[in-house]
Amino acid sequence: MWRDMTVVRRIDSEGVALQRQGQLGLWAPCRGQEASQIGTARALRETDFIFPSYREHGVLYARGVAPGDYVRVWRGEEGSAFDPAQMRMAPLQIIIGAQSLHATGYAVGIRHDGTDEVAVTYFGDGATSQGDVNEAMIFASSYGAPVVFVCQNNHWAISEPVTVQAKHPIAGRAPGFGIPSLRVDGNDVLACFAAMRWAAEHARSGRGPAFLELVTYRMGPHTTADDPTRYRTESDVEAWAQRDPIARLEAHLRATGALTDEHVAEAQAAADATAKELRAACLGMVTREPLAVFDNVYAEPHTGLRRQRDDYAAYLAAFEEA
């Protein structure tokens, strides 16, 4: 998992770099949250289905998406990057909290099907204020649905400190809905792994939903469009830098001798290779042709849209002639 986190950090910094270079419209850095994401995602089975938010690059990595898939959406090429059925993961969700209900519905479906999969949803501390997330807990509890709610409390919702959303620990809300919860050090990858093991097992064994609050910190800006100096101090960030999830595990592994210079070199090489592939995939993306805007609005033929498409095609053709 140290290796995973190292690669994810590299992916993340490549995303930032590509955005700076004008190759991406936007990027939401996950720096600092690698342990939360890798620890939990690695504790799942391949068959478990994940409903992420937008910052879960580490979760995408754990799912093994293709390099270009980290950036395809952020570049503005497509609305989603991979095949959800194949990756067993929904596309990234921008509407805060909406995906928590999707995971709950999916989990109700699992229960109907009588299989032992689990649905997992990731969201932030800010998201816990949305009605949808609370309704998701209520529905999940009511149906005893096998869903794990993962709240990455990274202390910020853009410029708002978590205290605007919650004056008390977020994990403390779930039990009120009849959902057992754990509050975990989100920068300790092993703790995150263990917590998800417990939560997934709880859900898998038919005991209903579980909730995890991973206490971590968003080291970077909210997105590349954000300027965090307007709302937080360097010293805040510094304090959390001391608890960097990668450095921390690295120190521990080095101390026990489990991590050698060769390991580190190998991981860096792998990270660089992934970043290179990602960059190449990004730069190689070909924007779809104009009429593609009409594709897949509907699954079945649609008379109104067909005519709009025809008219627009005629317009483009006339324009080219001219």
């Binding site: 289905f49 929904a90 509407i95 209900l101 519905g105 989990a107 479906g109 649905a119 949808d132 897949n296």
Partner: protein, 336 residues
Amino acid sequence: MTEMTLGKALTAGLQQAMRDDDKVVIMGEDIGKLGGVFRITDGLLDEFGAERVMDTPLAESGIVGMAVGLAFRGYRPVVEIQFDGFVYPAFDQIVSQVAKLHYRTQGRVKMPITIRIPWAGGIGAAEHHSESPEAYFVHTAGLRVIAVSNPQDAYRCLRQAIASDDPVIFFEPKRLYHHKGEVDLDAPLADAPPMGLAHVVREGTDATLISYGAMLTTALDAAAAAEDEGISLEVIDLRSLSPVDYDTVSASVRKTGRVVVAHEASREAGVAAEVIASITEDCFHWLESAPLRVTGHDIPYPPAKLEKFHLPDLDRILDAVDRVLDRPNSLTEVER
């Protein structure tokens, strides 16, 4: 052919859809033991069990959001919204998720969700129980919008909506739930006309009267009354509000040259505005007078005792017919 109410036809449609495909699940408030406040799901819990007939917690966003998740899992959820005015808490899930997920995923994730809405007024109900929100959904790309007006269409179109791989907002004219009509329960779905087609319910030559849902009944009454005055109205039931079947509509307008569009919903940016703007574009040279709207006023739905002054009735429709036919009418003296 069996005679049954529109409500019972819907029940039969749901039942048949659930028998045809065990991925069809229905969900909503009070739809289980109670059979829904309008009894449309009556008997379905007994036949299909609580896993396929799900009483839900009282939260519409939750219901629709859960349906999205079930669709991800391969189910075909049919949602009942208890009354038209309670769909708004689910608006975000409908507009940002249900309508967009197929597009967002380049067609990889289908959203075969049907959202049934007992709809519109005229039943003396309390506030929020008589809304006509169809224009919101017509304006939302990615959705299909159906509004039925009789038992046969109710039975057929509901099955078609459920069988469709696209999300469908399905409006049920609640004041017609007890209206009876003949329904062919055995006609194979494959042979049925697509749900997107409009229906020329009555042929005529002087003007085209376009409506849908419960207002269609009023439109037909108006056509009958007009006949007594020697006016021949062609009446069209749109049935599909998105997409509108402009082939059928334009053919009629080109024949008659005069148009009235009637609905209960308020007027500003409503469905009638859409129909008239499109007709005007398609049939401008055939039009002999300005197409007119007869709609609910641009007011919140009024208290029950006043609703008759809000809802278009036969006389308001006939007055508009007089106007498009350049006959004396209530605005004859009004300067514009």
